[in-house]
Each structure stands twice: as C-alpha cells, then as structure tokens.
C-alpha cells in the first residue's frame, strides 16, 4: 500500500464564489465532472504546468493564491473551445477573464495594456495609436494612386463620415498603419457589388484589446464610442472585415 499524500488542503474559494455570483446559473462552475475534455482539446494545456481542468479544480479547492498568480491566464486565449467540448457547458473562459481582472492593472502584460490605452487615447479607438486624420489621409492617398495607375478603377471611391450609408465599415489599424495596399482589394469588392458603405473618423478601428486586458471600464468606453460612431451616421449595419 502506498502512502496517502495530501496535495492540497481544500478551502472555500472566495474567488470562485465571487465569479459564480456574477454568472447566470453560476456559469455551471460547480458542475465539473473532471472528465478532461476541456484539457485534451486545449492548445494551452501544459504551458506553465497548467490546463483548464487543473485551473478549475484549483478554484474548486480554494487555491486562490495559485489561481490568481499563474501567468497561464494570459496564455489561454478564451477561445471557448473548452466550453464547446464540455458536457456541462462550464464557462472556464469567464473564470479566466475574472482572474485576469483580479491582477492589478499595472501588472497585466504591458503590450495588451498599451494597446488598450492607445485605443482609449484616440478618437478612432486605434490600438496602434493611429490618428483618424492619418487614417483618412492614407486611405485617400492609396485611393488616388489606384485610380491613376490601375485602368478600369477610375471610379473607385472611399468615403468618410457619409451619413445614411448602409454599412459602417471598420478597419483593423494594421492596414492603414503597416500595409495600406491591403485595403484596396476590399474596396474593389465593395465597389463591384455596389455596396453603400462608409468609413468613419470616430471609432473606426476594428480591434479591441481592452476586453483582453479584462478592463471592464475601458472596454465599455470603447464599445460605447463605437456604437455612437455608427448611430451618429445613421448606418444600418456595423460591418466587420472578418
């Protein structure tokens, strides 16, 4: 007979109770069957000696010090494949989000924090800090070059802040900032089908790192600014390029 080893002393988890209080049905967080389907299909399993099942078990056993300190919460992408695979639909990503949010803001990864802050500091909510006037200048510059150099595209057009357009098209900052020519194929497609669309100078950037930073207040600020951008122009659709 081997000796019994106590790996952890079970405790009540203040963290888990708090998250369960926030979620409908408690996020099913107490219903884990420990089957491991989450971990077997998770690309983050094994990184920093952690996986989704282990993370949930540590929560269930009240190991808050470990749960709230492991950098693994930044290595889970919150892709929700574990929820999709789980027979009990346990919302582990929501738990990850709450664990991220429990980190002091200044200790969260600098790159994500910087991207969120840039978005907060620009009217277009650009995580790369692109100013709206630069976005418009780059787009119009590229457009002029296409019209002048590509036969058949003399009528290609791009508009900004055009009220009443059917679609408000957002754009990942990466295009105007690092590869503006990548916008052209999209414009050509929209032109070919006669799509009625516009860009805006407010809230135009497609990315939103404040959510990934788990900064609720910043996330809400960004979402509200983007909603205002579309509503002020009276567009019927907010169109994402992906």
């Amino acid at each position: 007979m081997g000796e019994t080893t106590t790996l952890v002393l079970p405790r009540q988890s203040a963290f888990l109770s708090q998250v369960m209080g926030l979620l409908p049905e408690g996020g099913n967080l107490s219903m884990c069957l420990t089957c491991g389907l989450c971990s077997s299909g998770c690309p983050a399993s094994g990184l920093h000696d952690m996986d989704p099942r282990k993370f949930l078990r540590l929560c269930a056993l009240g190991q808050d010090d470990l749960v709230l300190s492991t950098p693994w919460v930044w290595m889970c992408t919150m892709c929700q494949r574990c929820v999709y695979a789980c027979p009990m639909q346990i919302d582990i990503p929501r738990l990850i989000y709450a664990a991220r949010a429990a980190w002091p803001r200044e200790n969260r990864p600098k790159g994500i924090r910087g991207s969120c802050d840039q978005a907060l500091n620009t009217e277009g909510n650009s995580a790369m800090g692109a100013r709206s006037e630069d976005f418009q200048f780059v787009a119009e510059d590229v457009l002029e070059e296409v019209k002048a150099s590509q036969p058949g595209w003399e009528d290609l057009s791009v508009s900004f802040n055009r009220k009443g357009a059917e679609y408000f098209l957002n754009q990942n900052s990466r295009e105007p900032v690092t590869e503006p020519d990548e916008m052209v194929p999209l414009w050509k497609i929209l032109h070919t089908v006669g799509c009625d669309w516009t860009y805006g100078t407010l809230g135009w950037a497609a990315e939103n790192y404040c959510m990934f930073l788990a900064d609720d207040k910043a996330w809400e600020t960004i979402v509200r600014n983007k909603v205002r951008a579309v509503e002020e122009l009276g567009c019927r659709y907010w169109l994402n390029t992906e």
Binding site: G41, P43, M78, P109, P185, F212, Y237
Partner: protein
C-alpha cells in the same frame, strides 16, 4: 467583432444597428451573382488551400452557418477540388493562438508553443496555402509558418477574391507565394 457583441450584452446596450460580417456578405453576393468569382485561374495551376475558422467569428459568434459561408466563398474562388479541410474544424476548430491579446502579451515562446497544434493541423492538410480571414489569425499563422521554416503563404480572403476576378493589383500581392505572384497581371 466579438468584443463588440459581447460588450453590448455585458453593458446592456441596445444599438440602432445590426452587426454584420463581410464573410456572410461575400457568400450572399456570390450567390446573388453580384460578385462574379470563378476558379478557372486555378484549373491548370492546381494550387491547394486550407482555411482557418476564426474562433471570434465562428465558435464565438455565428457558429457553423458562417463556417459554411466561408467554405462556399473559398470553394467558389479556388475550386472545390483544390480545397482541403483541417480537422477538427468549424465550431470545433482549434484556436491559432493569436487571440486573447497573445500577440501583444510578450509571451512569444508560449504563443508559439500554443500554435504548434494549429501548425501541425495545417501541415497535415498538405495544402500549399492557408487562408486566414481574421487579422489576429493571419498574424499568428504567418508567424508560425515563417518561424517553423515551413514558409507556406498565409493569405487574406479578399486577396483571392480579387485574384479570381482578375483585378488584383501589383501592390496588393504581399502575401502571395511566387507561384501566384503574377497570375492575372
């Protein structure tokens, strides 16, 4: 897109507009005959493609119906016989590891380790190209391809749509491999 959809829910905002994905519109426009794509350009070339199902778009937003739209567009553009599925796929697809802020987080080594599963999935298809219709997926898979030394091209969907319509300009080909660099020019 997910950040907006989830944000509207979380912060209880009811907007006066709807949220749409260009992938669904591409499919509708092709079905309606407004976007006249075809795969003739690839008949003799026989270049093969696989496609990444972005988590934010498929599993986390519109589910398998948008994954079907994505396949319809891809097959219309490259030819059904030149499309190869990854497994698992659609709502059950693996995340590439570019999401969740990973690319910005500074955990580069971990991000690439995470991406191994995606890389292997792509390599197992034997496809020449991977289509990544999401910016984070594109950046991550491109990095996985280059860093692993496999150097398979990773392309945006709009590039192939314009290529198939014969209107892809000279400066709009950064992500095409040498085999397609001058097709339709």
């Amino acid at each position: 897109m997910y950040a907006i959809r989830a944000g509207l829910q979380k912060f209880q905002i009811t907007p006066n507009f709807e949220i749409e994905s260009i992938i669904r519109l591409y499919a509708r426009w092709i079905r309606e005959g407004r976007l006249t794509v075809n795969s003739d350009w690839n008949k003799d070339l026989g270049v093969t493609f696989t496609v990444q199902d972005p988590c934010q778009l498929v599993r986390k937003s519109f589910g398998d119906p948008v994954a079907e739209d994505l396949r319809f567009v891809v097959k219309s553009v490259v030819g059904e016989e030149h499309f190869i599925e990854m497994y698992p796929n659609k709502s059950n697809n693996y995340c590439c590891g570019g999401g969740g802020g990973y690319l910005q987080s500074g955990f580069t080594e971990e991000r690439r380790a995470y991406g191994q599963r995606k890389l292997q999935q792509i390599v197992d298809t034997g496809a020449d190209y991977c289509i990544a219709p999401c910016h984070n997926c594109h950046s991550q898979i491109h990095d996985l391809s280059e860093h692993s030394g496999r150097h398979f091209p990773v392309v945006h969907l709009w590039t192939l749509i314009c290529l198939s319509m014969g209107c892809l300009g000279e400066n709009e080909r950064s992500y095409l491999g040498e085999d397609l660099a001058s097709v339709g020019l």
